[in-house]
């Protein structure tokens, strides 16, 4: 039975979520503060398969909680659920490490479908790690300059080291790789990766790119793979020409 942690301080919403998720056959635990959620993950193997995380929590807010979870190496699939549905907030959530984002008021069937999606991805991940030979999906990875991004198990492998990635980080990388060598505008990325069609401040995407550079660049201050194209956006180059001099 999959286990879901709901972090929500509004008692009515929390109980409604518990009722519905239990009716779907999940085991549900509810906590009402970010601190309590972080405590559940402190130094432990994750006991939850998915986290549903509110943003406006007492004490540490949802953005801080997800960011601290990721920094602590906890990559449990997380759906942020919040009244703040403005595109800038959505991007902030993804940038902090969320895998999915749903604005309140939400459609119950959409929420359940999104949770199922996150669980499915987690099952693939667990399945392929437990028995790589029996993993059903074909290999879906991209290798460049000694680094391998595995799109299925959501990780980056660099010289024997493994860095877990969030779903959104993998989606952005996949998009840039698909357009390798060509400049991709911020607007287009927001539209096609995040699905944000509104007139969003496209600069919000830059924080996300800074994080990706930390993963894939040897020297993030002088990127060679993920380049800024001034006035446009970004360009991915898998095998850059050797530096002159």
């Amino acid at each position: 039975m999959s286990s879901i942690l709901v972090v929500e301080d509004e008692a009515h919403l929390a109980e409604g979520l518990r009722f519905n998720l239990e009716a779907e056959g999940y085991q549900v635990n509810v906590v009402d503060t970010g601190e309590a959620a972080l405590e559940l993950f402190e130094g432990k193997k994750p006991e939850y398969d998915v986290v549903v995380l509110d943003v406006m929590l007492p004490g540490k807010d949802g953005f801080t909680v997800i960011s601290e979870l990721r920094q602590a190496g906890q990559f449990v699939p997380t759906l942020m659920l919040t009244a703040r549905g403005h595109p800038e907030d959505v991007l902030k959530g993804f940038s902090a490490g969320a895998d999915d984002y749903l604005a309140k008021p939400f459609d119950l069937s959409i929420l359940i479908a999104r949770i199922r999606g996150l669980l499915r991805r987690r099952e693939w991940l667990v399945g392929s790690v437990a028995s790589p030979a029996a993993a059903p999906p074909p290999s879906d990875a991209f290798t460049f300059a000694g680094k391998t991004i595995d799109f299925q198990v959501l990780e980056l492998r660099v010289r024997g080291e493994v860095f877990p990635l969030t779903l959104m980080e993998v989606n952005v990388l996949r998009y840039l790789i698909e357009h390798e060598g060509k400049p991709v505008s911020r607007k287009k990325m927001l539209d096609e990766v995040w699905g944000l069609h509104e007139d969003t401040d496209t600069r919000a995407i830059d924080n996300f790119i800074v994080r990706l550079r930390r993963y894939i660049e040897n020297d993030p201050t002088h990127p060679r793979h993920l380049l800024t194209v001034r006035g446009v956006g970004y360009r991915f180059i898998a095998e850059p020409a050797p530096a002159k001099g």
Binding site: H12, L13, G16, N20, K104, P105
Partner: protein, 297 residues
């Protein structure tokens, strides 16, 4: 993070103002040193210009800092309103969808109906507060009549006990002296309810709210609402009555609201020729809110 950014902006503008004043003073000293031989008139003319420039820079800095603070309050209000409007709607929708799509037993159904009613009350309260705040700023006239304040308080307590599921002992009232006042019944009811709601919300799990009324001097009746909640820092005692103001720190985020409740209380008091204020011996020692209204002759 946004708050830290704004503080930096405020510090920048104050620094810029101080820097400009310093540069102007240095320029003036240079001017005096170069022109002192040309007589006292030029010197006085320079002084006047210097005073005008410095006053302009100071005014400009004050204006900028006030605008930044106002923006900060505006953002906080939008965030609070977004939360206060969308959360109950999200809850009602969730329970309606649940009732529509799942088999729910009778007992659960009753519980869900109660939750939806509570949420619709919360939504209505938020809407009423916003509309009332709008009316406070306009030319809406008071409908002054004789009101039994004791009865208004009793009714507000009955409503609060039902809304927050509290016992009679958790919310008590004692009248010391006459309670008939002159006022607008609707506004007085809103102010008293806001004070009681506030006291209950900030009490957490230990709700011990004592309401008292007493005659003050010859012309006023005061309502005192005392709670055993977290108390208020001295620096916040006046600030909390400002529109959109929320006490900084985790206390404010633990208790959700629009930041309009106490502003309404103070506005009602002022419109009736009375006063509203808060007393607290500091954090952790509870607080008392006082609403003073004119007694009926």
């Amino acid at each position: 993070m946004v708050l830290a950014g704004r503080r930096k902006t405020i510090a920048f503008f104050i620094g810029l103002g101080a820097g400009l004043i310093l540069v102007t003073l240095l320029l003036y000293i240079g001017f005096v040193l170069l022109n002192w031989k040309h007589g006292i008139l030029l010197f006085l003319f320079g002084i006047v210009l210097l005073a005008v420039i410095i006053a302009g820079v100071v005014l400009n800095t004050i204006f900028l800092v006030r605008e930044i603070r106002r923006n900060e309050q505006h953002d906080a209000f939008i965030n609070a309103m977004t939360h206060e409007l969308k959360t109950p709607v999200a809850s009602i929708r969730l329970y309606l969808e649940t009732l529509q799509s799942r088999a729910v037993d009778e007992e659960k159904k009753k519980e869900f109906y109660r939750i939806m009613l509570d949420d619709s009350d919360r939504l209505l309260q938020t809407i009423e507060q916003v509309l009332r705040t709008g009316r406070m700023g306009g030319s809406h006239k008071l409908n002054i009549t004789r009101i039994d304040l004791g009865q208004v308080i009793e009714e507000a307590l009955v409503r609060a006990r039902a809304l927050y599921r509290l016992s009679n002992e958790a919310l008590t009232y004692r009248a010391n002296g006459p309670t008939t006042i002159m006022g607008d019944a609707d506004e007085v009811r809103a102010a008293v309810s806001n004070l009681i709601d506030n006291a209950v919300k900030f009490s957490g799990n230990n709700v011990q709210v004592r309401v008292e009324s007493e005659k003050i001097g010859e012309g006023f009746v005061a309502v005192r609402v005392r709670d055993e909640g977290p108390g208020i820092p001295k620096t916040e005692l006046k600030q909390i009555f400002k529109r959109f103001h929320r006490v900084p720190g985790s206390l404010a985020t633990r208790v959700k609201g629009t930041g309009l409740g106490l502003y309404i209380v103070r506005s009602v008091a002022k419109r009736h020729g009375g006063r509203a204020w808060a007393e607290s011996e500091g954090p952790g020692r509870g607080s008392t809110f006082v609403l003073q209204l004119p007694i009926a002759k």
